[in-house]
Symmetry: C2
Subunit: 331 residues, 2 copies
């Protein structure tokens, strides 16, 4: 059987193909706690979720096996956490409070049914961390394992914090870790299976969800979720705002995980800090007089472009990064 | 090259892998008109959409190549229409007005970039038919073509119409076509490439979106989108409501498309009417004195279960259908 060929899963374990689409949905729904603000939960044509602000923020992210995760490196629950975090962090990056998730799940028939159910547990746990609930989904047969998560959130009366609001003179600040997911991935790729705390940063990123609304309340002028890498996402801010963003590497956080992985692999962690994706830190700009909310820390500044010179972009320690600085899923 | 092996696409046509993730997103966003109610459109961490009711309905559906569509039978634009319709019809089935879609797009690197862009055009056109806008998405590399659509909508002050509200004595009514998609699919499977109007019903289902809010306003007691097949979805209503649903086949709509396909294939169209999925008609129950809004027509009635006899379920012309009546994507 294909499942055993792939990774030695037990012949007796029930497969997705055994329990069928509706059986799988029943198992998944049984794992979903329903939190506040959910007016109609899973099981009808749609869910109904409170949107007290009168506006709703919405974003979607797709994770594909072999590209965003490997089943031999991450448990099903890990994948659920990671898939939920990718969308929930986008909601926080608008300054909004996440309220609900819906999940599209593509599963090969040979996939153990428990994998799908455990993944849902991870999704629900991560949603709960962010104050949201999983309220619905769809399960289809597919050639590979795909988890598509759409998150919505509530602005609680605040204006959304866009990418386009950074102004020259603003302070550039970061909440959350950098390079931790990349460090864990580098260890896994090199064949290491420990230390666990470094690998955990790759398997279950920990976006600082409350920092998003806190930044909005403090008056952040722009904000973005760092999912593609610090330089790449800083460039998104710079281009949307028409400014130059200067990053000071001496101010970047170097977590114990990153330091430990660099020691193990005998390398310089700088690339992970600048180009590692999927940590889901929040990068924001604040007007200079702002008292930044915890855990934001300054890591650079926003500068005006100079007529006749290079346009909007990113400088690292005063040196222009003309391209790259992140990864493209088709490279 | 894989693309040519598959379906003779030109070697010169640009592939998804050539233009990259961000290039593809730029092409897609360029095709998206932004309608009313969109406060922040595509391009930031999330979109922001008006939710004047203070509640938002949300649903997600995933379409996979080879299971829900074939690229040799449907154009990219067709697939976009069909993927959007699947989610938008769920919103209408709650009695809500669709407002926005986000799309997760899994694309092999060999897929022509124009296929992805044309699919987006179809998504945007179908969204516009329903009064909604495409406001965001994610593009990832995947082994197969996958389109995941999440739709949200606004209840406009009405209560959501659930599956669980059907009462004995209610009239069972249908808006929209039955068996048309199945008839078109049967023709395609048998190798027919015409008549075009029958195949169009398979390629681009036409859910009666305005009938959803109209049913809610008229006082519908329950409603469901007919996506799995009439009997299967009637069973969902019956089980959620704890009733028996009686379908009178003499009252079912027989469209010219269904009749034409049955003549071509020399078969009885009854199976298509009762078990064909993906037409996205709306099946609703109304209290007996209700004036049903157009285009709803009565097709049966709701009855009480009898203690000691079979529980909630579906009867067709007085005969109990104990199982089946639709399809399971893992069968």
């Amino acid at each position: 059987m294909a499942a055993q060929d792939r990774d030695g899963e037990s012949e007796r374990a029930e497969k997705v193909g055994d329990v069928g689409e509706f059986g799988l949905i029943d198992r998944i729904v049984a794992r979903l706690p329903v939190g506040g603000g959910v007016i109609v939960g899973p099981g009808d044509d749609t869910a109904v979720v409170a949107a007290p602000d009168g506006r709703v923020v919405i974003t979607t992210d797709v994770l594909v096996e072999g590209r965003h995760f490997r089943r031999e490196w991450s448990s099903a629950q890990d994948v659920g956490h990671k898939a939920a975090a990718a969308s929930l962090a986008d909601v926080a990056a608008m300054g909004a409070q996440p309220t609900a998730l819906v999940v599209g799940f593509g599963a090969p028939t040979w996939l153990p049914a428990d994998w799908a159910a455990d993944c849902s547990t991870g999704l629900a746990e991560e949603a709960a961390r962010a104050g949201a609930s999983v309220v619905g989904g769809d399960v289809v047969s597919a050639e590979c394992v795909i988890v598509s998560v759409t998150a919505i959130g509530d602005l609680q009366g605040r204006r959304p914090v866009l990418r386009s609001g950074a102004e020259p003179g603003d302070v550039l600040a970061l909440a959350g870790g950098l390079g931790e997911s990349a460090a864990g991935l580098a260890l896994l790729r090199a064949g290491h299976r420990d230390p666990g705390q470094v690998l955990a940063a790759h398997r279950r990123p920990q976006p600082p969800y409350p920092a998003g609304p806190a930044a909005a309340m403090a008056g952040a002028s722009s904000m973005i979720d760092v999912s593609d890498g610090l330089v790449a996402d800083a460039r998104h801010l710079a281009e949307a705002s028409g400014v130059i963003i200067e990053i000071d590497t001496s101010q970047l956080p170097r977590s114990p995980n990153v330091v430990l992985a660099a020691e193990r692999l005998g390398c310089d962690p700088q690339d992970w800090l600048l180009q590692g994706g999927e940590d889901h830190a929040l990068l924001a700009s604040f007007p200079p007089a702002t008292t930044m909310p915890s855990p934001f820390r300054p890591i650079g500044r926003v500068q005006a472009t100079v007529p006749g010179q290079a346009g909007p972009g990113v400088q690292v320690d005063g040196i222009r990064w003309s391209t790259g600085g992140g990864f493209d899923h088709f490279d």
